[in-house]
């Protein structure tokens, strides 16, 4: 007996009688006793329903804050004006709540028709057949760079289409560099050693309460860049850990060198600034000259710092065998594998991706648009900060070798592992080498299942 089979979305099948109350409770209890099929399933365990024609109603789920909700509603209105037979129901919350809610609704067979995904979870959802292969849907992806598009492919199927791109880059505050009497580094040639010495020099020159840089060790993206510069990668296309223990240890060592040289604050301050997000970090509070952030965070950083911040390439781009920086899909548009209205869902995703009107409303809110044609078209509408991001992204385009593969199933735990081990290293509870060994072991365990 499968509840999932019958319990589609609540807005469908209004005909069922309400006394199902007792039946449902009973079904759950029976299922609990009987073993076998539990009644708790997932979107992926049933055959996709017959595609239905419109007029219809589709649900679009996304995460974000108030500004995104407002602009997305405007895009939905524009889409509905063009497609009067399709109603798009918004379903949004903050980041943490989003994933709890999504997992719950998928478990109950009530998957949203169009889902926003992120690299941390897309493998989980894709490999459990929750997401449709979008290459079979009528969505025009010709304007999206192939390398970027590949960021949403798993085993040749297109489970997500990137909404836009970000890059992990060094953000620098020229005013603090000037105060410290240190010159901005040449980001085309600087090495990881230069990074350490520059940060230490700024801290010395700027005096008490101002540091050279904010610790970068909490985010696995930095490790990925360093690994790629050495010809390795965080994950291989086969979904295995592709980084050597040595690289991980070197990665953690940079933080220790910075702490020893005064370039970054002591361990407990570092943890504090990390927890405070972009606004409360060193750059946001004018207490540091550098920090590694995603390019889409430049806006929040600039606003709270009140200074004009600059984007720099990460160190070591010319130091190793190849460059390590990459375009990261900011998020993905995905379509539920068991939506009743795949055409309508596809039409909506196509609109989000390719419509000039949508792009003009969205601007860079979901990353610098993946569709290069609309990206060009909105450049003039961007704020100065966003233009800076667009220029920077264009500058590094030729240097980028490839887009990393989608991280494997289970990689959602990676962020927590990284954060925990980096804290241990900073407080010198383990050596970088020990942390590296533990990292390899834990990540392999997490992604094995």
């Amino acid at each position: 007996m499968s509840i999932t089979g019958t319990a589609r979305s609540p807005r469908r099948g209004r005909t069922r009688a309400v006394p199902a109350a007792g039946v449902a409770a009973l079904a759950l209890t029976l299922a609990a006793c009987g073993g076998g099929d539990s009644g708790l399933g997932g979107g992926g365990d049933v055959a996709p329903p017959e595609a239905q024609d419109c007029p219809c109603e589709i649900r679009f789920a996304w995460w974000g804050s108030d500004t995104r909700h407002e602009s997305t509603q405007q895009i939905i209105d524009a889409f509905e004006a063009e497609n009067p037979d399709i109603t798009v129901v918004p379903d949004f919350t903050d980041w943490d709540g989003y994933w709890d809610k999504l997992a719950t609704s998928v478990a109950a067979g009530d998957t949203p028709d169009v889902i926003t995904q992120e690299e941390r979870y897309i493998s989980d959802y894709a490999t459990k057949n929750v997401l449709a292969d979008m290459s079979e849907l009528e969505i025009d992806t010709t304007k999206v760079d192939d390398a970027v598009l590949a960021g949403g492919q798993i085993d040749g199927a297109q489970y997500g289409i990137p909404t836009g791109i970000n890059a992990y880059a060094m953000v620098a505050d020229p005013e603090i560099f000037a105060d410290a009497g240190v010159e901005l580094p040449d980001d085309e040639s600087w090495t990881w050693e230069d990074y350490v010495s520059t940060a230490n020099a700024v801290a010395k020159g700027a005096g008490d309460g101002v540091w050279g840089t904010q610790d970068y060790g909490f985010n696995e993206a930095g490790l990925n860049v360093m690994a790629r510069q050495r010809g390795e990668a965080l994950f291989t296309p086969e979904g295995e850990l592709g980084v050597s223990e040595e690289t991980v240890a070197d990665f953690f060592q940079v933080s220790l060198d910075l702490m020893a040289g005064g370039g970054q604050p002591d361990a407990s301050r570092t943890v504090e600034y990390q927890a405070a997000g972009p606004e409360g970090g060193l750059l946001g509070t004018n207490q540091g000259a550098m920090g590694v952030w995603w390019t889409n965070q430049l806006g929040a950083l600039s606003e709270s710092s009140g200074h004009e911040l600059e984007l720099l390439r990460l160190p070591g781009e010319s130091e190793g065998e190849r460059t390590g920086m990459y375009y990261k899909p900011a998020m993905f548009y995905s379509v539920s594998a068991d939506t009743e209205y795949p055409q309508a869902a596809a039409k909506f995703v196509d609109f989000l991706l390719n419509s000039q009107e949508a792009a003009e409303i969205m601007l860079t809110d979901r990353g610098l648009p993946a569709n290069t044609e609309v990206r060009e078209a909105i450049l003039d509408d961007l704020s100065p900060t966003d233009q800076k991001v667009a220029d920077f992204m264009a500058d590094i385009e030729d240097e980028i070798v490839d887009t990393p593969p989608v991280p494997p199933h289970g990689s959602a735990e990676l962020a927590d592992i990284m954060e925990r081990l980096n804290t241990d290293v900073l407080f010198e509870r383990v050596t970088p080498e020990e942390a590296a060994a533990q990292f390899v072991q834990e990540v392999e365990a997490a992604t094995a299942g």
Binding site: P10, A24, G64, T67, W95, G97, A108, A300, S304
Partner: protein, 318 residues
């Protein structure tokens, strides 16, 4: 309350007792007055009271600090909240309030109304159904009482995170997702065992002699429940009401999961949407609207706490 007084006045007092009066309560001193020397102690008492107040006020500041800080932050421009985290803002900016009120798809009042609806339903449910169940556990003899009591307690020992998914399946079967029903109906069905247990403890504190006398007068259990237990348990009912109000008002997780459409969102969900861990956040609006949403709970508490002190002591019962 008058019902209670009349019923109770027929009850013989279990022990010799002076007529109760609130004056006697406030000053137990005169009862042992013979031993009191005239001036010294009164002065000492006054100094004592002043010291007590000073201590309470100092401590009150520690308790008040977070609210003062939040109010201060809500008047700071977004950019300064983190750069100048102190208590006194250097710039005062009211736009957080106007922006926050209108930032979401609906004006913030919409979410306040939704929250109020959920709270009212939960209040009604908890007050009626939990007190009924509590009466049974406190005063009735029936088979398996201990077992049922244990089962009741067990139901609050599982973290919500593992029952929410089966609950969602259940409510989606009933087509209750995206209505207030999953949030209110369980309360009507006394699923909040916390309050049952709370009221059991209070009911058991009410002298049995009262209901025995009422039984002799021919009252049945419904009358005892309505005319003795409830009126004598105003503090417990007030506690239940206050907590139901505050906890429902602040409850995030179940409201997040069961309400899917923006027009149904309640205050806690709306507040979260000001902050995005992955991008830009409207901290100023968050603080401003947090203050706004604190006002109803604080008023509820101010109003409700009056009833906390309306115990047996003040209802005229001997």
């Amino acid at each position: 309350m008058t019902d209670a007084s009349t019923t109770a006045q027929t009850v013989p007092a279990p022990a010799a007792a002076a007529p109760s009066s609130s004056a006697g309560r406030a000053a137990p001193g005169p009862a042992r007055g013979t031993a009191v020397r005239p001036r010294g102690p009164r002065l000492r008492a006054r100094v004592g009271a002043v010291l007590k107040h000073a201590g309470l006020i100092a401590f009150g500041f520690v308790m008040l600090y977070p609210l003062l800080w939040m109010v201060a932050s809500s008047f700071k421009p977004n950019a300064l909240i983190f750069r100048e985290p102190g208590l006194i803002p250097t710039e005062i900016d009211l736009t957080n309030y106007t922006d926050g009120w209108n930032a979401l798809l609906h004006p913030f009042s919409h979410y306040l109304v939704n929250s109020a609806l959920v709270v009212l339903g939960s209040l009604l449910g908890n007050l009626v159904s939990c007190s009924m169940a509590a009466y049974a556990f406190a005063r009735l003899e029936f088979r398996g009482r201990r077992l049922w009591f244990a089962i009741m307690l067990m139901s609050i020992m599982l973290p919500i995170h593992v029952v929410i998914v089966p609950q969602y399946v259940l409510f989606s079967q009933l087509e209750w997702i995206n209505t207030f029903l999953p949030l209110i109906v369980p309360k009507l069905l006394a699923t909040d065992a916390f309050f049952i247990f709370l009221m059991v403890q209070f009911f058991r504190g009410i002298p049995r002699e009262l209901d025995e006398a009422a039984t002799l007068d021919g009252a049945n259990h419904l009358r005892i429940y309505l005319q003795i237990m409830l009126p004598l348990s105003v503090p417990a009912l007030a506690t239940t009401a206050i907590f139901t109000f505050i906890w429902t008002w602040n409850d995030f997780f179940s409201q997040l999961i069961f309400l899917t459409r923006p027009e149904m969102y309640t205050v806690p969900i709306a507040l979260r949407t000001f902050v995005d861990a992955t991008g830009e956040s409207s901290w100023g609006s968050l603080f401003a609207m947090s203050i706004v949403s604190l006002v109803p709970v604080f008023i509820a508490f101010l109003f409700g706490q009056k009833y906390l002190v309306k115990g047996i002591a003040t209802t005229g019962i001997k």
